[in-house]
Symmetry: C2
Subunit: 688 residues, 2 copies
């Protein structure tokens, strides 16, 4: 795949932890590493320095993971994590995505448009502060507001004193809150990318599957003060990789999982959210493919979105199949019944936690009713169109006390917001217009003409005409205009007549009203009940559990291991032999064609070099670009996907068949040396 | 796999034809080829000379298929079809199975122990004769007897006049009877076999799966009068093979299918027959693996049986999964209901056919009750032990008028029976003893100590002791002894005190009594009803249908085509690249190891040479060794397996995923030339 942080389908409700731990299951926080399980299963003693080194070598990308792999600031991630940046620096004349890139000198390295890289420096349990703030509240909604306010205060204090990126993260469905402090890098330069065809060989068919033959890697160099970052916290390259059955560890930022959702919540996902999501994604892909068919330049512009929506479509389909699999839902029901039975046996537990499940059930009824509004009272698809509303809300929010602001506008969040708004990455108006028109049309069809959002956004026009006027008239696609508005602050924004800002003003009341209703009737009530379920689980199963994924740094352990597949066994690794076989098996036709470079240099490739491999590590979208390390803390691989059987991993982990798919460390340097004529870079990664 | 004629699980009841034809479905008799479908789907006009040439080039092996591939008598089949013969000529000193074989001169060719090859010379509809004979019968059982007697008469007349092998075959569940006349070859000599490891690379895990990397072929030469057969009826070799999407045709001998079984019959299979079969196979495999673990020679002796039982286990499992798949059974029920509804609408149809389904339902109730006796009142597992009963029945039967004899002892069948009884192939007493002991133990457990078969076969001993006495005391493992008994006829046999003959006398009454009951209460009634269902299907759906498989020559059409697999696409072909990749993916460990020859000569192999490929042709066990030919009638491949998705093909054909797996014609000659140092043989097959 693209083991992106797939945008989660569930709302931003808080999350908790798993019942019983099986096997190599778990995405563990660094403050509570599974020392005992690793010792028992693999006879390996994890030490604090080992953990610290791993943590400080690990990097978060805006939608994935990565790691430092040299003392000279080189960072390894997936090509598909780098893709957004590759697209942003590409032009009709120079296509970094299709052609790949190699900077032979530091001077040739190309600065990414707007990549922010985060390294987790420290974390701290702030549950008691957040809980204390909420304890005084008279009702669920006030408690939610109080928690949000306290979170904003904690983040602001941290930013002010530490000069770091500071995020308060709810863990275990809100049974805990942690402050995560990150060192932030924003000068990130491209050193190497293979052609996308080799990174993503096999395309959408092979995505989320195995055996696999992808060189899904890219290399950046991180700078500070215009100098490469020098650090001891990098992973030493091990081109030999890991042997079959060898224990391996993955650090990275899994985006979200729903393993601790109640059955009522899973049923909402199954019956309402996934069917709508699949419909939306299918529709949007149709629009994008039609646009891409207009010409080579249009195809280039749309490629990234198509890529990411195909990825989402395949992921959602696999997850949806999990939800509609009676065996999985029966297991979920049985697990939930077992927990509730245990709670019911102790009167004090029953009093404290017993009502949580029926409460969540009730919130789901509301959520189902409101879901179409939640989903379609938004500007979607286009990335340009929502900027108006962001400016409008920014102008309103920054005047308020930090604690009272909408999420996304707290002081601690402003640097990241501004970094994104001031990105020099280009917008393509014809593409934005097509996407906005389709999104408005879709909202009209789903909500009807009398919906307040529809009235406000269409203002009597047809979706096509409205989109033409909005995208045709806006200047928000110009960086200078956005900078002027930010610099001018609320006054400048309030004075603007840019059509997208006008639109933002028109829809803002509807958007806020819906959010308020959802907060009052769903989020606040459900989050309190989910927190209770989380605490109930602690009460019954103790503390040796891991929280659902939250796009924060996690450690997963496992071993290199094949698995039973489609009547036979999947091998633990593939080799370059397999790449050439699969290409020949499809007559070298897309998406299985070799690039000219790989076809031409095939006699220089040592075919038996391992290419990709699988391990039992428990990962999910967001882990893309994660390093795979051995017991010595050396880099042996680069996570880039999960197999098709891992897609139900959003809900349950199955050690028999759930596999993480990685590029072999040896494949990367072998390809650099033999195919890409990039021996100096290979030597920098893997000195010999 | 081994696309053997897997011993059918259903009894020898007669069979009929499919409802509605989908796509590339069908195993067609040569007298009713699907000319129109081939024309429509592939724009190819099948001519009678094209069909005749294919038919006369096609060969039947005792448990598979093959074809003439040179004017000098060379016959191509699968290694796994040749395996039984390879085992029979192997000794502790020379292992043809493990080491492979190449006869550099005709003098070096090795005569197979007891291979009979049949070529279909002609066929004739004899339905009216069989029907007329049965029409006079007052009841179902007499009708069954009358049909059998008429069949025996027709076969005998044919043998006496034509000097051919003559079989009367029921088609369309007995709605038709055809006389098939075969030319028979019994002097068959081994020319080439690869090492079993390369023929069966990937072993049991890869069996019945794809992508695949097997060189599952062997080459014999057929002799008559000690001279190679010279014939124009052979398939010209086409080393280029078939392109993706190219139409291809398969001729061969599919063993049996149950596509036209009624739902009541399928339920018996699902609830009774398959569960017992899987239990039996699992048990027997355990015994064989234990025996094989005793030493290298024991392993060699047991290898063939283990191979064939693992194959059966995997096939049965896939078929059973089909029967327990609600979607498949729902489709079967819906199809049956549609047919019965159509019948019910016409009073004369309802009168003629309407009672057939409830009748079959009733016979199934009896069959379920008698199934344990049917299954366990037999000597199974051992191939030596049943010889005693065969001699005993032979002595009784040949004294009767031909028409009154048990199946297997008709005049027309005697040459084949004697050829088998006089095979020089060795028996291994310790293995036979272990298998017989287990089979007796199993029958004891299933039937209880008071069952007449148990009493007769154990005669008061324990199964272990009984087996030791029987195998220890018999001389039937000696060819000279068997020859003496045959030559001596009934008098000699009746005078014999060989323990297996004594056992045969003891169990014969029980075996005959059960057969009589089954004939009276199940076979005769069900076969009459099944024939009605068959005729009902003709009435409703017309005559453009094919009969269920009967191990007679069939034609299947289709095209080379990959398919959706495990989240991605399976390629239409694999290459030698893939073979080396799969080996390296498992660190060259069994069953994925390369033989020394393949490892050593790897630099001489042109890796991009196609190795195996898949097509939509509708095949099943018995098609092993079938040629794949193109429109020009040239040999482009060699069927050796079906994919895992094809196992439900016993009941339904699914064009989307059901695939036949073949060795590419080019792979065979490339391997002969580059790896096996057998260029002269390659040139004989593929002159250039």
């Amino acid at each position: 795949m693209r083991f992106y942080k797939v945008v989660t389908l569930t709302s931003a409700l808080l999350v908790l932890t798993s019942l019983a731990l099986h096997a190599d299951e778990g995405m563990w926080t660094f403050d509570r590493p599974p020392l005992q399980a690793i010792q028992q299963r693999y006879g390996f003693t994890v030490t604090q320095p080992w953990l610290d080194h791993l943590r400080l070598s690990s990097v978060r990308f805006p939608d994935g993971s990565g790691s430092f792999v040299s003392p000279t600031g080189l960072v390894l991630t997936n090509h598909h994590v780098a893709l957004e940046q590759l697209q942003k620096i590409s032009t009709p004349q120079k296509n970094y995505v299709a052609d790949g890139f190699y900077a032979r000198t530091r001077a040739e390295e190309v600065k990414a448009a707007d990549a922010e890289l985060d390294v987790l420096m420290s974390s701290e349990d702030v549950t008691s502060r957040v809980a204390a703030a909420a304890a005084k509240a008279p009702n669920a909604q006030d408690a939610l507001e109080a928690r949000k306010a306290e979170v904003a205060r904690i983040e602001k204090e941290c930013v002010d004193t530490m000069k770091l990126r500071c995020d308060v993260v709810p863990l275990y469905q809100g049974a805990q809150y942690w402050l995560y402090r990150y060192k932030k890098y924003t000068d990130v330069r491209l050193v190497f990318a293979p052609e996308q065809q080799m990174a993503f060989f096999g395309g959408d068919p092979d995505n989320f599957t195995y055996p696999r033959h992808d060189l899904d890697f890219a290399i950046f160099r991180v700078y500070e003060n215009d100098q490469p970052v020098h650090t001891d916290n990098y992973l030493k390259w091990n081109a030999k990789g890991a042997a079959d059955q060898e224990p391996v560890f993955v650090t990275g930022h899994p985006g979200s999982t729903d393993r601790n959702d109640t059955v009522a919540e899973l049923e909402t996902e199954r019956d309402v959210i996934y069917p709508i999501s699949l419909k939306v994604v299918g529709r949007r892909l149709g629009v994008l493919r039609k646009y891409a068919s207009l010409g080579a330049e249009q195809a280039r512009q749309a490629a990234g979105l198509i890529f990411s929506l195909e990825n989402a479509q395949k992921a959602y389909t696999g997850e949806y199949n999990g939800l509609t699999d009676p065996k999985i839902m029966q297991k979920k029901s049985a697990d939930e019944k077992a927990l509730r039975d245990r709670i019911a046996k102790k009167p004090e537990w029953q009093k404290e936690y017993g009502a949580a499940w029926p409460t969540i059930q009730r919130t789901q009824e509301v959520r189902r009713r409101l879901y179409k509004s939640e989903r379609f009272e938004q500007l979607r698809g286009s990335s340009l169109a929502p900027l108006g509303l962001i400016f409008v809300q920014y102008a309103q929010e920054i005047g308020k006390p930090d604690a009272d602001r909408l999420d996304g506008f707290h002081d601690a969040q402003l640097p990241t917001l501004k970094f994104q708004l001031l990105s020099p990455a280009p917008f393509y108006r014809p593409l934005e217009q097509v996407l906005l028109a389709d999104s408005l049309q879709e909202s009209l069809e789903e909500l009807g003409p009398n919906d307040p959002f529809i009235k406000a956004s269409l203002a009597g026009k047809s979706p096509t005409d409205a989109a033409a006027a909005l995208v045709g008239g806006t200047k928000l696609d110009e960086l200078a205009v956005r900078k002027e508005l930010l610099d001018g602050g609320p006054a400048a924004i309030n004075a603007s007549n840019d059509p997208l800002i006008v639109l933002g003003r028109a829809i803002d009341p509807t958007v806020r009203a819906l959010k308020k209703t959802l907060d009052r009737d769903v989020t606040s009530v459900a989050s309190a009940a989910r927190e209770k379920v989380g605490r109930a689980r602690f009460a019954v199963y103790g503390t040796s559990v891991y929280p659902d994924a939250t796009f924060t740094l996690r450690l997963s352990y496992g071993k290199v291991n094949g698995y039973p597949m489609n009547g036979t066994k999947a091998p633990y690794q593939t080799t370059f032999f397999g790449l050439y076989d699969r290409s020949a098996g499809f007559d070298n036709k897309p998406p299985f064609q070799l690039t000219p470079r790989f076809a031409d240099k095939h006699s220089q490739v040592e075919m038996s070099t391992p290419l990709d491999f699988v391990s039992t590590n428990d990962i999910i979208g967001g882990n893309s670009g994660s390093p795979v390390v051995n017991r010595a803390g050396e880099l042996v691989g680069l996570i880039f996907d999960g197999n098709i059987e891992s897609l139900v991993g959003r809900f349950v982990y199955d050690e028999e068949k759930n596999r993480a798919v990685a590029v072999h460390a040896g494949a990367i340097v072998h390809a650099l040396r033999t195919v890409y004529d990039a021996a100096p870079l290979a030597d920098e990664l893997d000195p010999r």
